[in-house]
């Protein structure tokens, strides 16, 4: 290192920000783990419980009891966890005692990323060699197409986590292009296991939502329940089969409860969309919100209830029509320095 002899004091002041995030040495992490275990036993003694069988949940409860905090953000409250969960995983020293680095691509700077590219290219060459062999023997090339609809490639952040080093956008796009090139070859089935490491399943949206089966009441009539919310109104609807199209809200008929035509139209929309206007009876309860919010809440509740009566394709149609989505719009808060959420005070030139 160079030693500056005649310079201003400004240059000699250490720039704390420029050194980057701290590197945690192995000895430091080990010490933290020892301190954590000791502290765990002390805590168990303090709480009067057995130090041997003191689990992480007990620790969390004990800390929440000893240090009650009214802070809103859960991550800002006092926390006592194992050091491996607190300190981010970091790369240890990359070279041995004699100074020789462990990895053969160490001097490139991005060793994990370039070794990944090297391996993927090797798989590509393997597949091409296999293809050439098959062509030489006049055998037909396999044409089973991988199902690309249900899977996606790893995102840049997931790749960074996998490699434990920063990956730039260009590098990431190059890697994805190489993978796509590998997958596009006809004999790529050989390296299926390697490619699976970089694929993630994308479950179809509807599969996560479980549509409840129909229930039957004492008379043998099929019915189904649904719940819906809109602004501050929440509603529950029970839709019965073999009905005449009668709709009751909070004990009263809709003509009396919703005098405005718009609200009644909103209630009837799910039935009209499915073409089942005169076929179902509905009994609903609603509270909170205003006239329009209650109508929207009942509409969502009835659409959710109708899912049980209808085929999956029609459910998908309903979802695309927006009948099954919760409307996220709520009243925006007023901001200081303004008259309302958006309206500013009158601007006076002088």
């Amino acid at each position: 290192t160079l030693r500056l002899i005649c310079t201003t004091t400004a240059v000699q002041r250490k720039n704390v920000g420029a050194s980057g995030p701290e590197k945690y040495t192995e000895a430091f992490i080990k010490k933290q783990i020892e301190e954590f275990n000791l502290g765990k036993r002390h805590l168990a003694n303090m709480m009067g419980e057995d130090p041997e069988t003191f689990t992480q949940e007990d620790i969390d409860r004990a800390i929440a009891y000893l240090f009650p905090s009214g802070l809103f953000d859960k991550q800002a409250r006092p926390v006592m966890k194992h050091p491996t969960e607190i300190f981010p995983e970091q790369r240890k020293i990359q070279w041995g005692e004699d100074g020789r680095p462990f990895h053969f691509l160490f001097y490139t700077g991005k060793q994990s990323y370039y070794s990944l590219m090297h391996e993927t290219y090797e798989k590509l060459l393997n597949v091409q060699k296999h293809q050439d062999q098959l062509i030489a023997q006049d055998l037909p090339l396999q044409k089973e197409k991988r199902n690309l609809a249900g899977s996606r490639w790893l995102t840049k952040i997931e790749l960074e986590e996998m490699l434990l080093e920063k990956v730039s956008d260009d590098d990431y796009s190059r890697f994805i292009q190489l993978l796509q090139k590998l997958v596009a070859l006809p004999c790529a089935d050989i390296e299926e296991k390697y490619i699976q490491k970089f694929c993630k399943e994308v479950p179809a949206q509807l599969k996560t939502v479980v549509i409840e089966p129909l229930q039957y009441d004492e008379r043998g009539v099929a019915f189904s329940t649904g719940e819906g919310k809109r602004k501050t109104a929440s509603a529950t609807a029970v839709v019965y089969d073999n009905g005449t199209g009668k709709i009751t809200v909070n004990g009263t008929d809709i003509l009396h409860y919703f005098p405005v035509l718009q609200d009644r139209e909103q209630l009837l929309f799910p039935f009209q969309f499915l073409g089942r206007i005169g076929k179902h009876d509905m009994v609903c309860t609603v509270s909170g919100g205003g006239r329009s919010a209650q109508a929207g809440a009942i509409r969502l509740a009835s659409a959710k209830a109708l899912r049980s009566f209808v085929t999956e394709k029609e459910v998908e149609f309903m979802r695309q029509a927006g009948l099954l989505t919760v409307d996220p719009r709520v009243k925006e808060r007023k901001k200081p320095g303004q008259e309302g959420p958006r309206r500013k005070f009158t601007w006076k030139k002088r």
């Binding site: 290192t1 100074g99 020789r100 680095p101 053969f104 691509l105 001097y107 700077g109 370039y114 290219y121």
Partner: protein, 216 residues
């Protein structure tokens, strides 16, 4: 221990690298083929045998001598446990060079060369990093046909270089230039094979000598 290090230096060809290649091997691998007359670099003129139909032909006798010196030097460096870094910027041979380096137990850099790799190593890698003791260039030009930055940086950091110089390259700053073709796959495969064999031979000899010393 001193005897281990000083003994190879007394022989002119301790590792017998001459037997690894013959003139015929070089000719079959098309090492003598250079670029066209218009691409010729001024400093490569001493190494060129002649020009046929506008294509330069490299003098294989001189190549033999330079290759022998270079292989001998790499063998000595590998014998003393030095770090050898293979550098090339040719996309065709990037995978081959990386596999060769891995097979020898040495290091390779066939990707984009970041500016301060050698000159700013302590900031880039961390304090206490060990720089390579030898740089081997399978191609001295980068993708824009300019001299590779590593030649200049190695000269700055006093690191010796061995490089295959083609007729359009500048052999000035390279300590052990090897005039020869760097574009044909056959030529580059031959170079990789030769370097791999010398390094493995040197390392084996070192292990044998150490075992013999320990037995005494």
């Amino acid at each position: 221990e001193d005897k281990l290090l000083t003994e190879p230096l007394s022989h002119p060809d301790f590792f017998n690298v001459k037997e690894l290649f013959t003139l015929k091997d070089l000719f079959d691998a098309r090492v003598h083929l250079g670029h066209k007359k218009g691409c010729r670099h001024r400093f490569m003129e001493p190494y060129i045998f002649g020009c046929r139909l506008d294509q330069d032909i490299i003098d294989l006798d001189q190549t033999m001598q330079h290759l022998q010196l270079a292989l001998n030097f790499t063998a000595h460096v590998a014998y003393r446990g030095g770090i050898i870094l293979f550098v090339t910027r040719k996309r065709q041979f990037c995978h081959l060079v990386e596999s060769t380096a891995r097979a020898c137990g040495e290091y390779a850099h066939t990707r984009y060369w970041q500016g301060g790799l050698l000159t700013n190593a302590h900031v880039q890698f961390g304090p206490g990093v060990r720089l390579p003791d030898l740089l081997v260039f399978l191609s001295t030009l980068n993708n824009v046909f300019e001299p590779h930055v590593a030649i200049r940086d190695a000269a700055k950091m006093n690191i010796p270089t061995v490089g295959v110089v083609d007729t359009n390259c500048n052999p000035c700053l390279i300590t052990y230039p090897i005039p020869g073709n760097d574009d044909s796959p056959a030529a580059v495969e031959l170079y990789c094979k030769l370097f791999r064999m010398t390094i493995i031979r040197a390392k084996d000899k070192r292990r044998q000598s150490e075992a013999v010393e320990e037995l005494r």
